[in-house]
Symmetry: C2
């Protein structure tokens, strides 16, 4: 293949050519492969460069080929200039040269294939790309049958143009010193940084943070500001692919009935995939040093788990959005360290004080000899309170005053975390030169455009309105209704399943209790609890996957306009469903279990035969804690290990096997693959949503019920240390390189975090006041206790029941179980005794305790919310030194410009301008 | 005075000169006044232009002159170029020409005066200004003795440069059509706009809103984008002054020991004032049409009170910040209309249902004959409940279920208002081309720089550190402590005064009750209430002023770095003090009054002699309502009319009288004044803080206790209709033109509003549940009422007291006042009767009602907060059509640039560039 009209066309040969200048004549006449030097051959073989070995591949489009014929034409080189211009004009009157080209180029290939339409679209799209200044190279004879590759290279002029349009901030030549603080603070900082030195990854960038390049939106008119000595590396590979992607998004293919952008083309299968290339191999003998390898070694490895993440490098390689995700994950994990420390201390406090806890001592005291009312009808008998000693003591571990402190602490911790993240984000914005960047609205999604087209086609029959259609509420109504119904249905399913598990528990317990085998009876409680918890966990895990799929399907039904809106709607739905799924059983245990049971003599029956379940004597907090830990641990272990590690590996294997069906030796084969082919076999990047979602649900576990489970932060911390490296491995080694997306913040996730934090305050207030015994104890101590101590509290919380008042057939069959006749049995509730004027009515104590509980909720909620707001308000959103730096940068920039002014004025004077007419 | 070296210097004569080109030789040689045409003379006389009648005065600096000698040199013209350059060099070796100039110019004047230092600083500052390209003209022989004026004109090149630096978005030539909606919506919109047509002010701008100029940050390199055919009006007067002010802020005077900007110069009295000029006169026979006059007629007039405000014109004349204030005030006032409508309906509902209210009917029922316990010790006797009939009926007006609905409504209203404002703000940002604008950090304040200088001078003796000093925590500590102490003291003063008023009420009532005159005794309650309320109001008004001054003084003590920080700190302090001041008496009445009194037999005594006051039988809601309306109305009427109208007029008069001491005939004199002199006599602009503060306090009245006073929105609405025009008059006619400040939002005020809204939810929850009888009624109806109706409620709320249990000497002196012997009297409380086991203990009902009250608070607070969040979340922050327009603008801009590209590429090719070396 030769290189036509190069001299003739003249405009903008690629910048990368200059070094290869002397080789040009050799290369462009004759077979490329044969004439190349060995070194160039390697470069090219690795597929990171065009066949000429000079022009970088910035982006890859892949498409499907039915038949891999035409081995002769294994590369078709599309270049700017005469060729494409004529290609355009070609439709009207094709110039001879163009026609020749057209024969030799892609159209020829099209005829070979079945799906002509797609091929034509591709052809037009690609010629439009060439018109935009990009350079393309086609490669159809790859080792991968059935897949064609279009390699895209952006020459310097295109990069400059796009960078200018995007107002990309680039570092200028001007360098200034970053001063963090002065005097004593500086010394402390130096000391701290020396101390944390081993925690930093082994990267160059960390060493040279003392100076920073002033950055300024790139503009061709201000080229002199920038250091353009090395044009090849001025834009790094991530930026190059970003700029190319920008062109791709803007380019439309108008040949089809409606104009299609790259998203539509991908959506309709004209192209299979579009991705930028990874920088190189992560391992292997011939891997040169590159960012990807560096990341693999210094970040995506369990051996560096204790180190900070190289956020700068992550951002440099993956772009801002992914950089922000990992930075956020890092901050979150870091913040979990103090939280889990305090959590462990609180737990230990509970362990240490268990012997000083008067109520549990009283319960365990055999001498008290309190006869409790039976726990079930007929088959159960009276029981001695001291048998509940174990549960009571265990309860104290999680139900002590330290827990109240801990949940206030965690609420403030959450507020502080949000604030800290805001500041960190601001720092990153500054470091990454994103100040002043505004999120742009996305291009419409393919599905949306398709719907629009359908609609306008329908309308087109009636009227020829030139106006662009849009989806009205009426068009969307069915989808919205469907959404609403499905969401309610799904939530209903969750509730139903929780209720089912409850029924399972009640009925199994009743069945086991009636068993004749004493062993079965004694182990009933344990058996039921364990199986129920496992069922719950399994249901949660399965529904999680189902709900993810349902949410995606529902969002597709809605046909949101832009990717951003799609993502937000998807996130919203997924979040609600997954949240409800994860927390419904827990909320049931915390607030409803044991409260609906009624009291002796008038129990509540489900299906008229099963009594509602009650908590063990220690209160429901213990059971809440067990449920929480099982759900959290199980979810994390299974979802992380099984789903996140196993499934992608499996998928990759399947895809690999499918695509080749054993035509080559595998090892050999893999080595021979070009870079873009290797990347083709990687899993495509599916967005950060699942990663964030997992973390938010975990954040929910850490904050929502922290009052009942102070070890949650510790579990979360352990999980996250693994999670970071796991995700890192996935991103570096197992996924195609994602399109670099710019972003200033973590978007909707921040709001969701705020929402969770707010809900957490209320939930914790209710858990402390209603699930734990904290408030009743306080009330007893200050209102009823004769000596101001907790002695007598247990007795105070137990009401009296006259066994003669049992309903027909509910009295125990073995009333002498305890060895003596029981007249009055006790049960846990605040009710008037049988001998009062209003027997079994709610007592004054009940109302007093209720008022205290409610007052506690109000005080707790408002005090904590106020404190969070104060934290929010006291800590400035922008760190002081960053705002100073930004200010300084502005002044420096101004100085730079003012220095230029005299020259400019002269220039202005020499050039004739209309307002200077005398 | 002549015009030296004009031809010689050559750089940038002012653009405005081109029309006067032919006049140049005539004007510049000889006396100006004599040669001018009559028309030009008028222009100049009005003082809007330099003496040449061509160059606009964009800014004025005034300074103090001790002696008005030198009538010969009544103008000294400073111009750029050779003169100033030599002036700089002059210090080293003055060029002959420069020396000549120096003699003729300002230094000459300096010698005449006493304060040489100031004069030298001025001189340097002004020469620096000239160096920056500004053109100055001095006018010392004005009609205003003792004041010198420096007129500043910015030539075209300076305006362009500054606009480019500030990235000022200016309209380009490209025009596009603004489409708001399509189809049915469009028709509705057209209909609505026709309907509201008479409500729009009579301005051109409102007619031509169909098209909008694409705007783009001004850049000299992209001049071709802009319509520069009329350079004089390309930048309007507000923008010109903004640009000049920018230069002023940047220019430093380094002659003094430390570098001083314009703020320091103003602060140290080197200049008296700095202000831009108004566009012209608002009235008078020779007033030509100008924006100011238009604003005066179409906005600052009570006759147009029903119309929308011309926000676009306000912004054009005063800048964005003031435009935003009035837009906000407009939105707030508009939103008050539905609120006051609903408020009135709720009030009317109360009026209409007063006869159906069973409790008040029962109270008024003479047959019930309930003997109540005496209201004071000894002198008071038992009284019949039916005498409280009036209060009970009046109470119902404000204490009915509709009130609950209304306070939920108002909370949602507040959320909706915030959301609506956010959207409106976004619209304005779009209309005013502020999208993408970022707030810049201010320059340091003069006081701050002064402190820094002092500090570095002190340190300078010890070490010669070149580093710039800053104020550390230790420097600020005394001020912070002072702040804390003073704030606590002030709040303490407020509390003390409220307590004092309470004491006044209690003691006066006791004294009057003991009076022998029956007339005095009967009118005691009314007398005491009225006088107490008036005292309260007066105290609030006086303390308001005091607190304003204290807050300013405290903030000055703190020496904040920037104006923004100064303002925020000042606002924070003022807000807290004024808020506490306005709401303490109200909070006392709502939540404490009548709750601390104890019960018969064990009253609480203040100073061991006065019983704490109780509310009238109808509950405290009535009294709360009275106090609220008096405070609100009194505050608004007096502060608005007296302070806002009266005081500025008085000030102006005083200044006027002071400055002339009767040397001219007043009328004649005023006519002869130049524009800048007239403006000099106007009140300087003191910031928007007081305006906002007043409105926020009002917003507090409207939202905080709205449950007790549904007419508050109506009062606020009436006040605001006047307030808008009052403020408008003040800004247009009575204040110097403020410096145009750019701003995207109302800043800290938005957060304060959010805060007030949040607090309002909680306060309303408490008012409804604790101050009103709403919850007890519900509890009675659903828990205790025998027939589910309200019959018997009054009896249920009254406890029994056995009169034999009165403490010694507190029993009434006239026990037979009611005509029969009273054994058992009743009092309003939930306590056990004397015959129960625990006489006079808090009863079970009390706890039940308390629990219900608290539960109501929790439910109300969380439901309303959730609903507000939902409102916040459902309504997008950016209106749909605006986001579409912004997107469209971006695409249009991109198209525009892409169209230019081919030309640019050619240009690039012709010019030799380093990367094109083959």
């Amino acid at each position: 293949m030769d290189f036509p009209q190069n001299e003739g066309a003249g405009s903008q040969p690629p910048a990368a050519f200059k070094q290869a200048h002397f080789l040009r004549d050799v290369i462009f006449h004759g077979k490329l492969q044969l004439l190349k030097s060995p070194e160039e051959n390697t470069r090219c073989r690795r597929g990171l460069y065009f066949q000429d070995g000079m022009r970088r591949v910035d982006y890859i489009l892949t498409y499907h080929i039915k038949k891999s014929s035409s081995s002769r034409q294994h590369t078709s080189l599309l270049r700017d200039n005469a060729f494409t211009r004529t290609l355009r004009r070609g439709r009207a009157q094709p110039a001879p040269a163009a026609r020749e080209e057209t024969k030799a180029g892609s159209p020829n290939l099209c005829m070979d294939h079945h799906d002509d339409d797609k091929c034509l679209w591709r052809e037009e799209f690609e010629s439009n790309l060439v018109e935009m200044g990009l350079e393309l190279e086609r490669d159809e004879e790859t080792k991968t049958p059935g897949v064609g590759f279009v390699k895209i290279h952006a020459p310097w002029s295109v990069l400059c143009r796009e960078a200018e349009f995007m107002k990309l901030k680039m570092p200028t030549k001007k360098v200034y010193e970053v001063k963090h603080s002065s005097g004593v603070m500086e010394k402390i900082n130096v000391f701290i940084s020396k101390l944390t030195d081993p925690l930093h990854p082994n990267l160059e960038e960390n060493r040279t943070q003392k100076v920073k390049h002033l950055s300024y939106p790139f503009s061709r008119e201000k080229q002199h500001l920038f250091d353009l000595s090395d044009k090849d590396s001025f834009f790094d590979s991530k930026t190059r692919s970003l700029l190319v992607f920008e062109v791709l998004k803007r380019t439309k293919c108008t040949k089809a009935k409606f104009s299609m952008g790259i998203t539509s083309l991908l959506g309709s299968g004209v192209y299979l995939a579009a991705y930028p290339l990874h920088d190189g191999d992560v391992d292997g003998e011939n891997a040169e040093p590159n960012d990807r390898k560096l990341l693999y070694e210094e970040w995506a490895s369990y051996s560096v788990f204790y180190k900070y993440q190289p956020t700068g490098l992550i951002r440099k390689y993956f772009g801002e959005k992914i950089g922000l995700y990992f930075a956020w994950l890092g901050v979150y994990t870091q913040m979990l360290i103090p939280a889990s420390l305090v959590g462990v201390i609180v737990f230990l406090y509970g362990c240490l004080t268990v012997d000083d806890d008067i109520p549990s001592v009283e319960i365990c005291d055999q001498r008290q000899n309190i006869s409790m009312c039976p726990l079930c009808d007929r088959v159960c008998s009276y029981w001695n309170l001291s048998t509940a000693c174990g549960t009571a003591r265990a309860s104290h571990l999680f139900d002590n005053p330290a827990t109240v402190f801990f949940s206030i602490f965690m609420s403030l911790w959450a507020a502080f975390f949000m604030e800290h993240w805001k500041r960190r984000q601001m720092c990153l914005n500054y470091e990454w030169d994103l100040t002043g960047f505004e999120d742009e609205e996305d291009h419409p999604r393919a599905e949306y455009e398709f719907r629009i087209m359908q609609k306008s086609l329908k309308k087109g029959h009636k009227s020829q309105k030139p106006e662009r259609e849009k989806l009205t509420c009426r068009d969307r109504f069915p989808a919205y209704m469907m959404n609403l119904i499905m969401m309610l249905l799904m939530i209903g399913v969750t509730f139903a399943i929780v209720f089912g598990v409850i029924l399972y528990r009640i009925s199994t317990k009743a069945a086991l209790a009636m068993s004749s085998n004493p062993m079965t009876r004694s182990s009933a409680r344990l058996t039921v609890k364990t199986t129920a918890a496992i069922i719950n966990l399994l249901v949660i895990l399965i529904l999680d996957e189902v709900y993810g799929a349902v949410a995606r399907w529902l969002t597709l039904l809605e046909v949101p306009k832009t990717d951003k809106s799609f993502e937000e709607r998807l996130i919203f739905k997924t979040f609600i469903l997954k949240f409800v799924n994860a927390f419904t059983p827990i909320i049931y245990i915390a607030f409803f279990r044991g409260r609906l049971g009624g009291h002796p003599g008038s129990y509540l029956y489900v299906f008229e035969s099963y009594r509602m379940e009650e908590c063990a004597h220690g209160g429901c907090l213990m059971e809440l804690c067990i449920q929480l830990s099982i759900t959290m641990l199980g979810k994390q272990l299974i979802q992380n290990n099984l789903f996140e590690i196993g499934v992608p590996k499996l998928k990759k294997l399947i895809r690999f096997i499918k695509s080749q069906r054993g035509s080559f030796q595998e090892k050999e084969y893999e080595k021979k693959l070009q870079r873009y082919e290797t990347d083709h076999f990687l899993e495509p990047f599916a967005g950060l949503t699942p990663e964030y979602m997992e973390m938010i649900i975990q954040f929910g576990f850490v904050t929502l019920f922290v009052a009942s489970f102070p070890l949650a932060p510790l579990f979360a911390l352990l999980n996250n240390i693994i999670e970071i490296r796991l995700d890192a491995k996935k991103f570096v080694a197992e996924l195609r390189r994602p399109d670099a997306a710019r972003g200033k913040d973590i978007g909707i996730w921040y709001n969701i975090l705020r929402g969770v934090t707010k809900v957490a305050v209320i939930v914790n207030a209710f858990v402390i006041s209603f699930t734990s015994d904290f408030v009743p104890r306080l009330v007893y101590q200050y209102m009823y206790s004769p000596d101001g101590s907790m002695h007598g509290f247990v007795n105070h919380t137990l009401s009296y029941f006259n066994v003669s008042h049992f309903q027909n057939g509910t009295a125990p069959l073995e009333p002498f179980h305890l060895g003596f006749h029981v007249d009055i049995c006790r049960y846990k509730d605040y009710r008037d005794p049988p001998w009062s004027e209003t027997p079994y009515e709610i007592s004054k104590e009940f109302w007093a305790v209720l008022a205290a509980r409610l007052a506690f909720v109000i005080v707790f909620q408002n005090v904590v919310m106020l404190m969070s707001d104060v934290v929010d308000w006291i800590i400035p959103d922008i760190p002081k030194d960053i705002s100073l730096q930004i200010h300084k940068e502005k002044i420096l920039m101004m100085d730079l410009f003012m220095k230029e002014e005299p020259g400019k004025t002269q220039l202005e004077e020499t050039s004739p301008s209309p307002h200077r007419n005398y």
